[in-house]
Symmetry: C2
Subunit: 451 residues, 2 copies
């Protein structure tokens, strides 16, 4: 369906919900995919959301909508749902989505549903809840379509035909006698070999697998690199625990990218999402990072105060302070972003410290160019060689130092096992400001002969 | 295979290449996947890269390595390859990868290979070269497995069995008599219906398709939202032109995320990639953005100069300028990042202008908190109510304005059809600096009674 048609339907849905037109709403909802209902619902009032949700006649669709709605919107939808209804919906979902949904329910509802789940399903959910949400175990589907090595293609096809509908089949996994994952067969390979061929003859044995503890970012990298539709998750004995499918990988990549971006600006995922935090709590969550900036700013004010004689002697020097910090900050953020990005994509890996040298050289080239420009400007504007030399020399050193710090910090953070994306945050920018201004005012004070 | 084993093999490969050990190198390469050889090769000298590449005995693997190596590394590998050899490798690839590889070849080699391609393949490549590289047409595979509506499941299975190996099958696309895409059938559906069933009976007709002009980012969004393995690309008459597969979508999502991140720091993709630009050209590419910052800084220096009397009267005011710009800058970047991220994920869409209000309120809360803190500090440290009031009031307004500008600019850019990610660049940060300082020094000057 064309995107424009989709957009029209979503807008129509919103209008109907606003008017409270129940019958047409039910008709409209019946024509839409769960994915689209979820998007449409995200921009409604709580009452409108509940009204739309109540019109979904197909349980499976309702359940799918719930898996796709986040934060406050999710709570609006589930808040007044009785446990019995939730149980019906939860049973419509595959184990990974079911676990995810249960994880997000308010504790009381979660316990209620868990207690009413069949023993088998409850064990499954509880096992999945045991893994970190951002690990392969946390995002995997805890089963896969698996057969023994000596099964023939004919029997495998029969098994596929009999498989329950909810077992979405990407690949057929093959176990050896010891119950270890020993091979993979594509659905297509089943069709293109004689019916009597045993799976052991046609399976690929060079399997790319991950452990349940593998970080989801690593799983995403592997899936992308080898163009897989699913990655098997195996335990230490190479027994198959489940699979991570490519659609979940796409979600992971998007999440991690958004997370990195926010982390670089010092904002948490929660503070960013209007549906997940009130204005006050969003402000509270951004407070610590800004407090660091404020404390840094106070430190800098102390530092600048020490040079008050210098500033009093040549008050125009104060006018260039914002430029020194602005240029240093921008170069630092550029360098840090390049480093973070190259670490994320794997480029420059191995040559890490070489990249610091590279950035310092690039910074130096930029520094020379800009210090000449600004020096010339100062000379022309204020006719003061002193100001020109101070501003020019300070800018050169500030830019070079910023490039170095901006590159070195993410690399060091990575070595320490900390996400390098925080390197563009207040610590680094404050450090670069402080260094730049110390250089600037120090040079000025030296030249003015007033140390 | 475990990641650790892989890493060991890659390290071993690098060591062998450094030593120029040809025979063991050939043996090691024979055991590796093309994807891993490509990663290993990325961190070698040009001579080592050529040595490793020459040891790849399987043409298909060599071709796959080429598709995965980028920038300068790619040029190192292809530079001394004769056109005949390139032709062999190019013919190993599927049309989308083939076109991509040809696009990246130096013009002379490209023309040489194109001229020697079979007529049919050449037409295909030339058609694909006609689409924008970042559109659905530019990344699609220009064919799909397609059958007519009246074909039976039995015949469809036979067709799948006979299909050439290179036609990777995700879904079966069904055409109506007019040659228009009318339905999709999964491989599994073929197996689970009686052999005599016609495709028209089991196909899903609610098809999500894109046009060749659709932006790749949009294609990625659709693939992710509906958990598809492939999206069909159709022309205006709904004739199937090709498919975009999920592995290409993963590349797109990664690319766009990296691009956004770099754009936010005002760095181009090229300037960031050590393999794609020399130090001098990297500096040249970062020059324009920094020039904007410099010019902004000069403007700010003019602005601050106007308040030189104020600063002379109370030189400690200069000491807090970096804090005002630092806090304003950080809040602005936070707000802009949140807006960019919410625009990218589709959250907050529709409620765009409401989000400006939200940010202003959040900014105000933060502003009040921090201005009280800094006011108290100034009073305690300098015993000057004047400084305390100036700094506090300026910080409050600067933070609020920064939150507003930071949110409003990305939204406005989006309306203008410009990528909102540039909003965190120098224009906005400079504007926020200028606004913050004008407010600060303006308030001070008012209070000092010296307008």
């Amino acid at each position: 369906m064309a995107e424009s048609v989709l957009r029209q339907r979503m807008d129509a849905l919103r209008r109907l919900a606003r008017r409270g037109a129940v019958a047409p709403l039910a008709k409209a909802v019946a024509k839409m995919r769960a994915e689209d209902v979820a998007v449409a619902v995200a921009h409604m009032s709580a009452a409108e959301q509940r009204l739309v949700f109540a019109q979904i006649r197909v349980d499976h669709t309702a359940a799918e909508v719930l898996t796709r709605v986040e934060g406050e919107d999710f709570l609006h939808l589930v808040n007044d749902l009785p446990v019995e209804r939730l149980l019906v919906l939860v049973n419509e979902l595959k184990a990974d989505d079911r676990t995810d949904l249960l994880e997000r329910l308010p504790a009381e509802q979660r316990e209620g549903v868990l207690a009413r789940l069949h023993k088998e399903e409850r064990a499954e959910v509880e096992e999945l809840l045991g893994y970190r949400p951002d690990s392969a175990g946390g995002i995997m589907l805890p089963y896969a379509f698996r057969l023994q090595e000596d099964v023939t293609c004919r029997d495998a096809i029969a098994a596929v035909q009999e498989a329950a509908d909810h077992e979405l089949i990407y690949y057929l996994y093959v176990d050896n006698d010891a119950g270890q994952l020993s091979g993979v067969v594509s659905l297509r390979a089943l069709l293109t070999h004689p019916p009597s061929t045993r799976l052991s003859m046609i399976m690929s044995t060079d399997i790319i697998a991950v452990s349940p503890e593998t970080d989801q970012e690593e799983v995403a990298k592997i899936t992308g690199r080898y163009s897989l539709l699913a990655v098997p998750v195996v335990d230490e004995q190479r027994r198959l625990l489940g699979i991570v499918t490519v659609d979940d990988v796409i979600d992971v990549i998007r999440e991690e990218a958004a997370e990195d971006m926010l982390l670089m600006a010092g904002v948490s995922e929660e503070a960013a999402d209007p549906s997940r935090s009130s204005r006050l709590s969003a402000a509270t969550k951004r407070f610590p990072w800004l407090l660091v900036t404020l404390i840094g700013g106070i430190g800098i004010s102390e530092l600048v105060s020490r040079f008050s004689h210098t500033l009093e002697a040549e008050v125009v020097l104060a006018a260039f302070m914002p430029m020194i910090t602005g240029m240093g900050g921008n170069v630092g953020v550029q360098s840090a972003t390049i480093a973070v990005r190259n670490l994320a994509t794997g480029q420059g890996e191995g040559g890490s410290w070489r990249s610091v040298v590279r950035e310092v050289v690039v910074g130096n080239i930029l520094g020379v160019a800009f210090s000449l420009l600004i020096g010339a400007y100062c000379l022309a504007r204020y006719g003061s060689p002193l100001v020109a030399v101070c501003v020019g020399a300070a800018l050169l050193t500030a830019i070079t130092v910023a490039a170095m710090v901006g590159t070195a910090v993410p690399l060091s953070l990575r070595r320490l096992g900390v996400d390098p994306a925080i390197a563009t945050g207040p610590f680094v920018t404050t450090a670069i400001d402080a260094l730049g201004l110390t250089l600037y005012l120090g040079i000025a004070s030296l030249l003015l002969g007033r140390i």
